[in-house]
Amino acid sequence: MRFILNTGRTIVQGCHVEDKYSETYAGEVSTCRMNLLDMLELGVEEGEYVSVTCGSGSVVLKVVAAGEAIPCGSVFVPYGPYINHIMPEDTHSTGMPDFKSVVVVITPTTEPRKTLQDLIEDLGGRMYEIR
């Protein structure tokens, strides 16, 4: 199904911006918040996984039921390395990519969600282990 994706801040994401290797941060920024009716139509329940695809690729996120807070046809994902994995880099000559109102395709998946380490290594980085 096609959805409009919006990314944005959440209080949990904000509280962990200086603690990005924590499980809480990774858990928060790898969630996809959806309207209950869309979840029904998609056939997914809270805690299950969906594959979110945009021009630049796909990423697996965990579904969070958002009640009526998110309108049907839209999803919300907190800012962070998971969703930016698929965000387009085109800035339309403004310097600012589209981080909101982006069309994505969402399908249920049984694939596991990547760890932060997997995401980092996919992009050519190397995880730093905090001592």
Partner: protein, 429 residues
């Protein structure tokens, strides 16, 4: 030891009423902070010393070795990018601009992926703004458009708007009308007197409709615009025109959707229209505590607020070309210095892939996503906790950050100053 009236170095609210208790070289307690501020003051995840990437892991290095390595990376580069700057104080930002000029580098700050488009709009049509003190004491109508202060600026409503007592308002909470405009029902929307839910990407159309209605052209407007009924638009126009003082705050809901700076321009022009009937102002909800300062410092030093390219020997500014995302996506820069920000957590993946392939030096107190893509990270004191300096609040008011801890970490100013002096020596300046 207890410190009163400390500034919180988290968001653009720059709350200046924080009480901090510090013992044994650590912050042990805070009062008056929101959750974001509390996590910042009590955070305990600092990098202990500079680290350098090796073939099979990381090794500790000294500050002298780290500075020498930074010089090599930046002086050998043909087109270095100096990015970040929003999470440090103005004095360090000054050195960054000097450094960019010396290197012929591009210097950009995080506003290019935040309120950069707002600045482009302001450059087109001006900024009818005011201080947050004016809003607190006078505004009886508050509009939050495309922003969610409950989660991003948690004390904004209690310090400056909805719940703040005002000198010219007898009963501030009851006398203020709060309108929230957003594409989803946020927690802020739950606190509003009027919530306007618009379809994603519909901001420009709704702003245009409101402008037309303020001008008395109701007959031009169809029954519904981007999911908002004409009746509700008329209601908002009446509230705004009858206000004594209408303060609009907007967030990246306007700058990150299609239309970008044109959305903001339209919002400014709506405020312009409203100002023919009452007093109206507009203020961007700035994110990092000193992103505004970075724009100010860049502007007074180079003439431009962000995305400044010194490769011609003079300052050149062309957002869309000289902005960090575009330069990284084009794989144009061949080295990067990242200061007080975390691009690997906030830029699209194509940009990060390029960071992984070039020499990157990061100056930041904490391990973050960019740590995984840098060759060298140098920890520094945290501005506002163990480093002093100047920061600009979201309304452009400069305030002095206080220091509540003694530290052995160098400040950003000290470290960047040493690097810059060594650069000048090498370049014979």
């Amino acid at each position: 030891m207890k410190f009163d009236d400390v500034l919180c170095p988290f968001c653009g609210c720059l709350c200046d009423d924080i009480t901090v208790t510090a013992e044994g070289g650590r912050v042990t307690g805070v009062d008056n902070t929101c959750l974001l501020g509390t996590s910042k003051f009590l955070g305990d995840n600092r990098l202990k010393n500079p680290i350098m990437r090796t073939d099979d892991g990381w090794k500790d290095v000294t500050y002298d070795e780290a500075i020498a390595s930074t010089l090599d990376a930046l002086l050998e580069a043909d087109r270095p990018l100096l990015y970040g700057w929003s999470g440090t104080h103005g004095e360090a930002q000054c050195i960054g601009v000097h450094m960019a000029e010396l290197l012929g580098a591009v210097i950009d700050n995080t506003s290019s992926v935040c309120h950069g488009p707002s600045i482009l709009a302001i450059q087109e049509v001006g900024h009818p703004g005011c201080t947050l003190g004016q809003v607190k004491n006078r505004a009886d109508v508050i509009i939050y458009w495309g922003c969610n202060p409950t989660e991003a600026h948690p004390r904004h409503m209690s310090r400056y708007t909805t719940y703040a007592d005002g000198y010219f308002l007898d009963n501030a909470f009851r006398d203020r009308t709060v309108i929230v405009v957003d594409v989803r029902r946020t927690e802020t929307a739950e606190l509003a007197d009027v919530f306007v839910e618009i379809k994603p990407g519909g901001d420009y159309a709704v702003l245009s409709a409101l402008r037309a209605m303020v001008r008395g052209r109701d007959e031009m407007i169809p029954d519904s615009i981007a999911g908002v009924s004409k009746e509700q638009l008329r209601h908002i126009v009446e509230i705004c025109k009858n206000a004594k003082f209408c303060a609009v705050f907007f967030g990246v809901g306007l700058t990150m959707t299609r239309g970008k700076y044109k959305n903001v321009r339209n919002a400014i022009e709506l405020v312009d229209e409203l100002s023919r009937h009452t007093k109206a102002t507009i203020t961007p909800m700035r994110g990092h505590f000193n992103v505004y300062g970075s724009n100010e410092v860049n502007t007074w030093m180079s003439g431009y607020p962000y995305a400044i390219d010194f490769c011609r020997g003079i300052a050149f500014y062309n957002p869309g070309e000289t902005t960090a995302v575009d330069i990284l996506a084009r794989k144009e820069c061949d080295a990067a210095l990242i200061v007080a920000s975390d691009p690997a957590a906030h830029l699209p993946s194509k940009c990060i892939r390029h960071l992984a392939n070039i020499p990157v030096v990061q100056i930041d107190p904490y391990p973050n996503m960019t740590t995984a893509f840098c060759n060298l990270q140098i920890p520094v004191a945290v501005s506002g906790i163990d480093a002093e300096g100047t920061a600009y609040r979201m309304d452009g008011v400069p305030i002095r950050l206080r220091k509540v801890l003694e530290t052995e970490y160098p400040t950003d100013t000290m470290l960047l100053g040493r690097i810059y002096e060594a650069m000048m020596e090498v370049r014979g300046r």
